[in-house]
C-alpha cells in the first residue's frame, strides 16, 4: 500500500457562517421555482435544551425522480441539469428548501427508498453531522430500505418527514428527546 496523505481536520462553521455560505434564495431551490411536482421541505434545528438554533445550516443531496445523479461517477451516466443540491440556513428560525421527489436509488444491500442525504452544520459543532430524510407515504419502500431497516425501530421516525399542505416538515434534534439518528458516512 502506498503512503497516504494525512487528511485535513474539520472545524466549526462558527456563528458567522452566513457570510461565506449564504446563497440567498438560490441555495434553497434544488429545482427551479414552478417545476412540476415540486414542493417545500422545511424544519427547525433544536439543541439539547430544546432551543431553536438560528445559526445552523442544512445541506441536502438527492437523486432526480428517476433515481439518478448529475455526477460523473453515476455508472448509469450523468443526468445533466439536475443539480440535486440544496442549502438553507436557519436565520429566520427554520430552513426551507424547494425540491422534487427523488426516485429509488440502488444500493449494495438492495433498492433504497426515496431519500435525501442531509448535512447539518452549526456554531458549536466541530464537525458536520449527517442524517437522511425519508418520505412518510412510501411505507412499503421505507420498510424494505436497507439503511432505515438498520435503525432501531423506536428511532426510525426521526428520519421520516411529516406530510403537510405544500410539502413536508423535517425537524432536526441534535440531542435530547427524540434525538435525530445521525450516521457515520
Amino acid at each position: 500500500m502506498t503512503e497516504q496523505l494525512p487528511t485535513t481536520p474539520s472545524q466549526t462553521v462558527g456563528p458567522y457562517l452566513h457570510i461565506g455560505l449564504d446563497w440567498d434564495r438560490y441555495g434553497r431551490f434544488v429545482v427551479p421555482e414552478g417545476t412540476a411536482g415540486s414542493f417545500r421541505i422545511h424544519g427547525e434545528v433544536f439543541d439539547g435544551a430544546g432551543q431553536r438554533i438560528p445559526d445552523a445550516l442544512i445541506e441536502t443531496w438527492q437523486a432526480d425522480p428517476d433515481g439518478r445523479f448529475d455526477h460523473p461517477d453515476d455508472p448509469r451516466g450523468r443526468v445533466p441539469g439536475f443539480r440535486g443540491f440544496g442549502r438553507s440556513d436557519t436565520r429566520l428560525g427554520e430552513y426551507s428548501l424547494h425540491t422534487v421527489h427523488p426516485g429509488v436509488v440502488p444500493g449494495p444491500r438492495g433498492a433504497q427508498a426515496p431519500h435525501l442525504d442531509v448535512s447539518v452544520f452549526a456554531r458549536g459543532m466541530l464537525h458536520r453531522v449527517v442524517t437522511r430524510l425519508y418520505f412518510p407515504e412510501n411505507e412499503a419502500a421505507n420498510a424494505a430500505d436497507p439503511v432505515l431497516s438498520s435503525v432501531p425501530v423506536h428511532r426510525r421516525s426521526t428520519l421520516i418527514a411529516t406530510a403537510e399542505p405544500g410539502g413536508y416538515r423535517f425537524d432536526v434534534h441534535l440531542q435530547g428527546d427524540g434525538e435525530t439518528v445521525f450516521f457515520d458516512v
Binding site: T8, Q11, I19, W23, Y26, D47, G48, D73, V181
Partner: protein, 246 residues
C-alpha cells in the same frame, strides 16, 4: 452495472475510505462550551456508501464570477490591512488533485471584525471589505485567493479568550463523504495555546490547519503569500461487492 435501478441490485461502486482516527475533533469538546448542547449523545450509525454517497454536487457556473477569488477588488478603495495571497491544492489522500470543486472562504477584517449583524466586537468595520470569496479548483486542483490578513478577536468562551487569526474554508470535493468545512490558521500565532477550537483537533493533526509562509509566491511591494493544501478522503482501492442477503 447493467441492473435496472429498481431491481434492487446496485452497481459496484468504490466508496471513500474513513478518515483515520485522530483526524477530526470530537463533537463533544467541553473546552468549547457551545458543543455541550449541540453534540449527539447517541452513537453514530454506520451508513454504507451507496450511489447517493459516492456522488455529490458539481457546483460552479453562475455561482462564481471571475473576480470572486479577489476579496480586495470589489470596492472603490483598497481594504485596510496587509494584502495576502492564499493558495494551495485540493487533493485526496491518495495525492490525486480534485479539480472543478467549489471553494468558499469567509473571514474577519484586519481589525478582527466580521461583516455580520451578530458581530458586536467593538472594532471598526471596513467599508471596502466584505470578507467573502469563492473559486473553483483548476484541473490540477489548484486554487488562489487574494485577501487581507485577518485580525484576532475576543469571544466569550472563557476568561480573556481570543480566536487566533483564521480564514474559514468550505470545500466539496467530488463526493458527499468528502464535504469539509475547516479553518486555516497562520504560522507562529501566539494565540494557539488558549484556543479550544484549534486545540479540539488531535495534537498530531493540528499542523495540517496551519498555512505555510511562501516567499516564492509573495509579490514585491504588494502582497505576502501563504500556502494551504487541503486533503480530503481518498477512495477505496476496489469496488465493494454485492453482499448476499440473508
Amino acid at each position: 452495472m447493467s441492473d435496472h435501478p429498481n431491481t434492487g441490485n446496485g452497481p459496484a461502486v468504490a466508496g471513500y475510505r474513513p478518515d483515520p482516527p485522530e483526524t477530526h475533533p470530537p463533537l463533544d469538546f467541553p473546552g468549547y462550551k457551545s458543543t455541550a448542547l449541540r453534540h449527539p449523545k447517541q452513537p453514530l450509525l454506520l451508513l454504507p456508501q451507496t450511489l447517493t454517497e459516492i456522488t455529490g454536487p458539481v457546483l460552479g457556473g453562475d455561482l462564481v464570477r471571475p473576480d470572486d477569488h479577489d476579496l480586495t477588488f470589489r470596492h472603490r478603495d483598497d481594504p485596510i490591512g496587509q494584502k495576502i495571497i492564499v493558495f494551495g491544492r485540493l487533493l485526496d489522500s491518495d495525492g490525486r488533485p480534485i479539480p472543478d470543486s467549489l471553494i468558499e472562504i469567509w473571514q474577519a477584517n484586519a481589525a478582527g471584525r466580521y461583516r455580520h449583524i451578530g458581530d458586536r466586537w467593538d472594532a471598526p468595520l471596513d467599508p471596502n471589505f466584505d470578507g467573502v470569496g469563492r473559486t473553483i479548483t483548476d484541473k490540477q486542483g489548484r486554487y488562489e485567493f487574494v485577501t487581507i490578513q485577518p485580525g484576532a478577536y475576543p469571544w466569550g468562551n472563557h476568561h480573556n479568550a481570543w480566536r487566533p487569526a483564521h480564514i474559514h474554508f468550505s470545500v466539496f470535493g467530488r463526493a458527499f463523504p468528502q464535504r469539509l468545512v475547516t479553518q486555516m490558521y497562520f504560522p507562529g500565532d501566539p494565540l494557539f495555546f488558549q484556543d479550544p477550537i484549534f486545540n479540539s483537533v488531535p495534537e498530531a493533526a493540528r499542523p495540517r490547519l496551519i498555512s505555510r509562509f511562501s516567499l516564492e509566491r509573495t509579490k514585491p511591494n504588494w502582497a505576502l503569500a501563504y500556502e494551504f493544501d487541503i486533503v480530503l478522503r481518498g477512495r477505496d482501492a476496489t469496488p465493494f461487492e454485492e453482499p448476499h442477503h440473508d
